[in-house]
Amino acid sequence: MQVSTGLRAAAAAEEAKRPRGDKGRGAGDTLAGWLFVLPSVILIVVFGLLPIVWGFVLSLQKASLISPIRPFAGVENYTKIVHDPLAIQAAEHAVYYTFLFVPISMGLAMFVAIALNRKIALIRTYRLAVFIPVAVSTIATGVMFLWLFDKTFGLANFALGKVGLGPFGWFDSPKGALPSVVIMTVWGWLGFDAIVYLAALQGIPAQLVEAAAVDGAGRWSTFRNVTLPLLGPASLLLMVWSTISAIQLFDEVYFVTKGGPLGATNVPVFYIFKLAFTSSFGFGMAGYAAALAYMLFVAIMLVTLFQFWAGGKMVHYST
């Protein structure tokens, strides 16, 4: 706030020094400019900024979304987060899920992208096949995996049983539910990551790879010293993007496991949803839910800033 005020003051001083003339920007120009961007500004303010501000106000109240009576609660909604075992459980699950989901999906995607980055027959078909899960709706994916991972009737247990493994509980076992969600979401998002990597791979100049070959580098050495560093910017992008979406995991849990069994897939956004829009945890929890949402926002921002900082130290090349 102070910074922008200072900037504005500096700009005004600059403006005052400038001689008035045809080249200067008059009040009418500024007005016209604002009027042209007004429609977008209104949309952003009404659907973006206002809810953010209103959400903050809500987080300071003891409120339900139905009753108009909303007593002021101060920072109580924030201080009680540390005493809420379910909020802490949700945070732990988010960390657990993120540490599984992000490396697995990115590692697999890089492997798949390299496999797809060649000129062989039917390559377009393979690329399409990898991308299709991204286009399938979460609900359809959920229904499919519910049956695939059914402990009694599922194809997964049937196939694993043929080689003497299982049966596994998958979504139905408190220990296996979150890893099963990881498998399902990796399947669903792999195509997106693979496309980003594929694009980055195709941007790597052929002469660099040839130069490495001339210098006597083997395939692994070429990958390790040429390809991998040049994929750095794409990896950073994917890491930031996947981490944010992993921390915000909701759809799959909402539809498939509903936070269960016995809280095994209770994750932050799902918990916030239940607090705000159902009365499962009591009536009048919308303010507390808003406080949790703000804490989640702060957590995501800190993680993202850290990733950009760490990424900036490690990513040296851009293609």
Partner: protein, 442 residues
């Protein structure tokens, strides 16, 4: 300079046109009823879908509703009822929350009975306590469980919209193949457990019974019926302390534990999405379910029987009455909404809806109509048993604002026993302690 000002003016004009378009659109949909000229228009939100469902079949629930509304609009020229399908009833509460925040609530909306305590605090909700005692309502004709669910702290906030209850639905072919005799009206839970065991065959991936084990209210109300059958109750009569951890509660949960953990004769659907498909494909011998499920079993030769009892107890069932909730959007519209509801839930209309949509009648007087049960059972096989079973529903779940919290706690306890992670007595005692804290306002 001049050119730019012209552009600015043009932008302003464009914005004004857009704004005008927006406002005129909203005023025509909301404010139509408030003008003096013409009939009063009221809006009704429902979740029955459209008459023509996507698979090309006729949706008889929607057909019945729109048919009755058309008839009302014709016979009452001063009132126009506009029915809006707003998506599944599961989301009706959330949708209403949003509408209430924006002040765009409908005049009448369909809501689950369990949402009533929360809704009672909503702005502009109509308190119907006096209204339903008026002439022509015959309020006591609605079943006791429905009236209890409509009432919060002694005030009536809902008109019964739909009633159902739980009973045994069984696959006759699987019973025949296993050589087990069909459930009878004097079955005990012991009979149920042994039949379930006899119907279980792991080699055929066949289970005696399916059970919703997602720890939701669906899990809990199945348990509630058994708790009542064993002579127990959820809370003390004044709703201040938990009593579901009584001997009756332990007995009911031990019955479920026997089937789920010991005999492994119960298929636990922990996401609560697969039971109907499994029953319809012949993998489950029995279900404890409601009349709404019957249309989902076209491939099964099924029978319906009332709930089992515990020795010396009752064949208690439970009903989940849904409600029409009214909001006051000005005197004229409020009066029109009341007029419509009174007509719509009168005996004649309820009977008509039952025969077209297959809904159980919400009024006792419909059951007393000569030949109603016979015709109803002939058109909707099995539904007549559910209709008669309405008399086996002893009470309603507590209508207090903390009910959903209590349900959440009970659901976790029940599922932890079904998954073999805890014992009935310990799980229920622990849950009762948490519920007592909730009831004490902590």
């Amino acid at each position: 300079m001049k050119r730019r000002r012209l552009a600015a003016v043009a932008t302003l004009v464009a914005l004004a046109v857009i704004a005008a378009a927006c406002t005129s659109k909203s005023s025509s949909s909301n404010g139509g009823g408030t003008t003096d000229a013409g009939p009063v228009t009221i809006t009704l939100w429902h979740g029955y879908g459209n008459i023509q469902s996507p698979n090309g079949q006729v949706n008889y629930e929607a057909k019945s509703l729109t048919g009755l509304i058309d008839a009302f609009n014709k016979s009452h020229p001063g009132i126009q009822v506009k029915a809006d399908y707003v998506g599944s009833n599961d989301n009706a509460y959330q949708k209403l929350t949003v509408a209430l925040s924006g002040g765009t609530q409908p005049d009448i909306t369909y809501q689950y009975g369990t949402s009533m305590p929360s809704l009672a605090t909503a702005p502009n909700i109509m308190d119907l306590t006096q209204t339903v005692q008026g002439a022509g309502w015959n309020w006591n004709d609605f079943f006791p469980g429905e009236r209890a669910a409509a009432t919060v702290n002694g005030h009536v906030y809902g008109i019964p919209a739909l009633v159902d209850n739980l009973a045994i639905v069984y696959n006759k072919n699987l019973f025949d193949a296993a050589g087990v005799s069909y459930p009878t009206a004097d079955w005990t839970w012991d009979d149920f457990v042994s039949a379930s065991k006899a119907l279980t065959d792991p080699t055929k991936q066949q289970f005696g019974v399916g059970f919703p084990a997602d720890a939701s209210e669906d899990t809990v109300w199945h348990f509630d019926a058994m708790l009542w059958a064993a002579g127990g109750d959820i809370l003390t009569p004044d709703n201040t302390k938990a009593t579901f951890n009584s001997d009756a509660g332990v007995q009911a949960l031990t019955t479920l534990q026997q089937m789920a953990v010991t005999d492994k004769s119960m298929y636990l659907d922990q996401q609560n999405t697969k039971l109907d498909d499994l029953f319809n494909s012949g993998h489950l011998g029995m279900m404890i379910t409601g009349p709404w499920a019957l249309s989902g079993y076209p491939d099964v030769h099924y029978g319906v029987q009332i709930m089992p009892s515990y020795a010396g107890g009752t064949h208690a069932s439970i009903s989940g009455p849904d409600m029409w909730v009214l909001f006051n959007n000005g005197d004229a519209r409020a009066a029109a909404a009341v007029t419509f509801m009174q007509w719509f839930t009168a005996t004649e209309q309820v009977a008509s809806d039952s025969m077209i949509a297959g809904h159980l009648p919400t009024r006792a007087s419909v059951l007393q109509q000569p030949d109603f049960l016979k015709q109803f059972g002939a058109k909707f096989p099995g539904s007549d048993v559910f209709a008669e079973n309405l008399a086996n529903v002893p009470k309603a779940r507590p209508t207090i604002t903390t009910y959903d919290q209590i349900s959440q706690i009970m659901g976790q306890a029940i599922v932890s026993v079904l998954l073999g992670q805890s014992q009935p007595k310990a799980a229920l005692d622990d849950a009762a302690g948490q519920v007592d804290n909730v009831l004490a306002g902590q």
